[in-house]
Amino acid sequence: MSLSSLVTVITVAVLVAWLLASTVCQIPKLRMAHWLRRHDRFDLLPSWAFFAPIPVTRDLDLWYRACRALGEEPTWHRFGRSNQQRFFLLWNPCLRSEQTVLELCARVLNIAFDDLSLDLRQVSWFQLLADRANRDSGGNGPADVQLKIAQSSWLTNVQESEPLLIGPQCGESGGA
């Protein structure tokens, strides 16, 4: 077998294997799918179920308040939402960061709902949110802010959005 043929065979084998693995991973109930995803270090196995079977129907807003103020109730600040700068098909820089907030908040909520006694400060996604909120507030560390995740939509006034989770108070190490 020539080198060219060998390379072609290897290419075919790799791409077919990748396609088969991608297909298997679309069925989350399969044990093989779990095994494959656990070893997918580079996130090469896609998940093509967009907005289904459970669609996104509410925004998740991240709020934070600094703990530095003494003797007064610190106010909640909503983690900035963009002015939605966009230009038809060519420019929408803030969507990715908003998607990141949404995804991290969803992960934190799922973890918190699974175990209400869990110390959220030990959860890496929560730490990320706290760290970023701390940087925004100019605090001394992630423990210097308290987080709140609330849901909203076009139907609700943002200021009155329903809180789904309020994180540990400053200095506490307890659960939600």
Binding site: S4, V7, T8, T11, V12, L15, W18, L19, S22, Q26, R37, F42, D43, L44, L45, P46, S47, W48, A49, F50, F51, A52, P53, I54, P55, V56, T57, R58, D59, F79, G80, S82, Q84, R86, F88, L89, L90, W91, N92, P93, C94, L95, R96, S97, E98, Q99, T100, E103, L104, A106, R107, L109, N110, F113, W125, L129, R132, S152, S153, W154
Partner: protein, 299 residues
């Protein structure tokens, strides 16, 4: 220029635009101090600032090389560098990626192999792989929506439009008191996505019909839901879809295995049967969603 070369060039140009715009947006976000959100949650501090700028600039330059293809060696190097940078980004960055990013990497790897490998068979396989991934993408998206009572009832459409991140206030208010219209839109999305197999296997005409519908569908998604990256990621696969359709029709009729009419009819029948089974096996009343999936993998 052969058919394979034309398809590969078209895919590379469309992909280059998508990745180039993505890199520009990333540079803008890094440099804009007032930008909100949690972009660039890199695991390692070194990748947060200067190194991050460098990676974005490299992606932009490589994307321009892929679009313009000034010299074949440069194009190959640009493709390989893009693959490495994108995979490195997956090791170092936290959530925020979606299906469009996944499709970018899949198409990027396949088109890089297409550029590097001289064998015509290997090039054909690369194109067929991209087409097959696109078929898998649309089929799974359609079937997962079909299995969802929220989508079948039209609740999903109005629900998504009610969000600030993916919705549009005026469109939501218009659809709010029109449940039948919401349901019709939901079913049209399901029908479009589920039709990928019957149409692509119906020959080039069917594939072109699907591609035109897809173009309109993704422009709608970009305008209403701001899913611009999906537009570029998915239309980059369309030359491969048409190539796959033509390949299947030619090969099957050449070997006398089955006529394209029989294949189209068979796949349509199987799709309808599968759809009926899915609808029958899922409850009519939507369950209350605890927290929705945005898309992408749960790590």
């Amino acid at each position: 220029m052969g058919v394979e070369a034309f398809a590969g060039r078209a895919i590379a140009v469309l992909l280059g635009f998508g990745i180039g715009i993505d890199a520009l947006e990333s540079i803008w976000l890094r440099s804009n101090a007032a930008s909100p959100g949690l972009l660039h949650l890199e695991r390692y501090p070194i990748t947060r600032v200067r190194f991050g700028y460098a990676l974005d600039a490299v992606q932009l330059i490589c994307a321009m090389c892929i679009i313009t293809q000034p010299w074949w060696v440069l194009t190959i190097i640009a493709s390989l560098v893009l693959v490495i940078v994108r995979l490195f980004g997956r090791l170092t960055a936290y959530p925020g990626r979606d299906g469009a990013d996944q499709m970018f990497v899949i198409v990027l790897v396949a088109i890089s192999l297409f550029s590097i490998l001289p064998s015509n068979t290997a090039k054909q396989v690369c194109l067929l792989f991209i087409g097959a991934q696109a078929i898998l993408c649309y089929s799974v998206a359609g079937l997962s929506k079909l299995s969802s009572p929220a989508w079948r009832d039209g609740i999903a459409v109005s629900g998504i439009l009610s969000t600030r991140i993916y919705g549009d206030r005026r469109l939501f208010q218009f659809l709010d008191g029109r449940p039948l219209l919401s349901r019709a839109i939901g079913w049209s999305v399901i029908a479009f996505e589920c039709s990928v197999i019957p149409l692509v296997f119906a020959g080039v005409s069917g594939a072109i019909l699907f591609v035109i519908s897809g173009f309109v569908f993704h422009i709608g998604g970009a305008v209403v839901m701001r899913l611009y990256r999906f537009f570029w990621a998915m239309i980059a696969t369309y030359p491969a879809l048409i190539y796959l359709s033509d390949f299947m029709a030619n090969r099957l009729s050449q070997h006398g295995i089955v006529t394209w009419q029989a294949l189209a009819g068979g796949t349509l029948g199987l799709t309808l049967l599968g759809a009926a089974v899915i609808v029958a096996s899922h409850p009519a009343k939507p369950r209350v969603a605890r927290v929705a999936r945005v898309g992408g993998n749960d790590g």
